[in-house]
């Protein structure tokens, strides 16, 4: 109720104004408004989806307990099952030896560790001097290969340069 801020003559008119009835629009007014709202999807079934939430209202605030990400778990499970099925089919149709596959994977994964262990075993069996000799030989071989590669590239470059000079002189 508003406070009186008018003279006594207006009191009966103010009373009549407050008694003025509300007027109603057509019955399908709400439907027409809803049809004009862009963000509402016609096929939306909000009450069913929302019913899974636990919603608490207190003092104008809303607390919503989050659901578990069921969609992500389902997708992960389906992907795992799919990969397992494909792997099983591959082993069955292409006769891949499962043990070989596992060993190959392990060798690839642990190559560094295997090399270290192998070197240690070699040092124990063959002696550290032998191993050092072999390693030195391996280093020499690498240097030799590098020198060969540099020589090949330099020779190819020299031949191309000579050919260009010859072309210029001929011209």
């Amino acid at each position: 109720m508003i406070e009186h801020d008018f003279d006594e003559e207006f009191v009966p008119i103010a009373a009549e104004l407050q008694r003025l009835p509300y007027l109603s629009p057509s019955r399908d007014f709400a439907d027409r408004v809803i049809a004009g709202i862009d963000r509402l999807q016609p096929a939306e079934v909000a009450p069913i989806a929302v019913a899974r939430h636990l919603e608490l209202h207190r003092g104008g605030q809303q607390a919503v307990v989050q659901r578990r990400p069921i969609g992500i778990l389902r997708a992960t499970g389906r992907a795992t099952a799919g990969v397992a099925l494909i792997a099983a089919a591959a082993f069955m149709f292409f006769e891949v030896d499962l043990l070989t596959a596992i060993l190959s994977a392990a060798v690839t994964q642990y190559a560094f560790a295997i090399a270290t262990v192998g070197t240690q075993i070699g040092a124990l069996v063959l002696g550290s001097q032998t191993i050092a000799y072999l390693q030195a030989g391996a280093i020499q071989a690498v240097i030799l290969y590098v020198v060969l590669a540099v020589g090949l590239i330099s020779g190819y470059g020299a031949i191309r340069t000579a050919a260009q000079i010859a072309r210029r002189r001929a011209a």
């Binding site: 104004l17 007027l23 629009p25 509402l40 209202h57």
Partner: protein
């Protein structure tokens, strides 16, 4: 949440649900305010079809921009502000300023008059009281219709919707002093028009 669960929910909370895209929340907001908004607009334009179109435009504009609603203001104030803007724009375009509670001023035949007449919700009174009330109400309606549109909006918001002067100034986007002047003049004019009623 089913629609009936909104009974004790505040406007701000219903707006939050609407912002989540829930159709039942939109319908609840329409249900709460379709009659006050339609009544305000009708009393300004005096034509049922036009009032329905403008009320529809108001709700569509408000609900499509529900994310922009600022909860520090009353939802109803925001809604009435949009309704007033749309109606004043319409009146400025059309210069509609005619009177007829029984039907559209443009209606010629009896059928078109009936079709454009508004539905007045009964307050549960006896037939005699209802008749007297309707007669008095009709006089008031005619007197309101004779006011300038700016006065109409202010006097309705003040005496029908019970808004404070500050809220009315916010709704109609006018200085507080202007609103007070409009309401004072509107009261004087109503007193003058309704002299016989007293």
């Amino acid at each position: 949440m089913p629609a009936r669960a909104y009974t004790d929910v505040s406007d701000q909370q219903v707006v939050v649900f609407a912002q989540e895209g829930r159709e039942d929340a939109y319908r609840e907001l329409i249900k709460r305010y379709e009659r006050p908004v339609f009544s305000l607009i009708y009393r300004m334009v005096r034509d049922k079809e036009t009032a329905e179109d403008l009320a529809q435009e108001t709700f569509i504009k408000v609900l499509n921009n529900i994310d922009r609603y600022r909860p520090e203001f009353k939802f109803s104030s925001w809604l009435f502000k949009i309704a007033n803007n749309i109606t004043i724009d319409h009146l400025r375009r059309r210069q509609v300023d005619t009177i007829s509670i029984e039907g559209s001023p443009t209606a010629i035949t009896a059928e078109s008059v009936r079709a454009t007449a508004v539905t007045v919700t009964s307050g549960g009174e006896s037939p005699l009281e209802e008749l007297e009330s309707r007669e008095l109400g009709a006089e008031i309606e005619k007197a309101i219709a004779r006011l300038r549109p700016e006065y109409r909006a202010c006097i309705i918001l003040r005496h029908v919707e019970d808004y404070s002067y500050d809220e009315i100034a916010e709704i109609v986007k006018l200085p507080l002093g202007t609103v007070k002047t409009y309401i004072h003049r509107a009261r004087q004019e109503l007193r003058q028009y309704l002299g016989d009623l007293r």
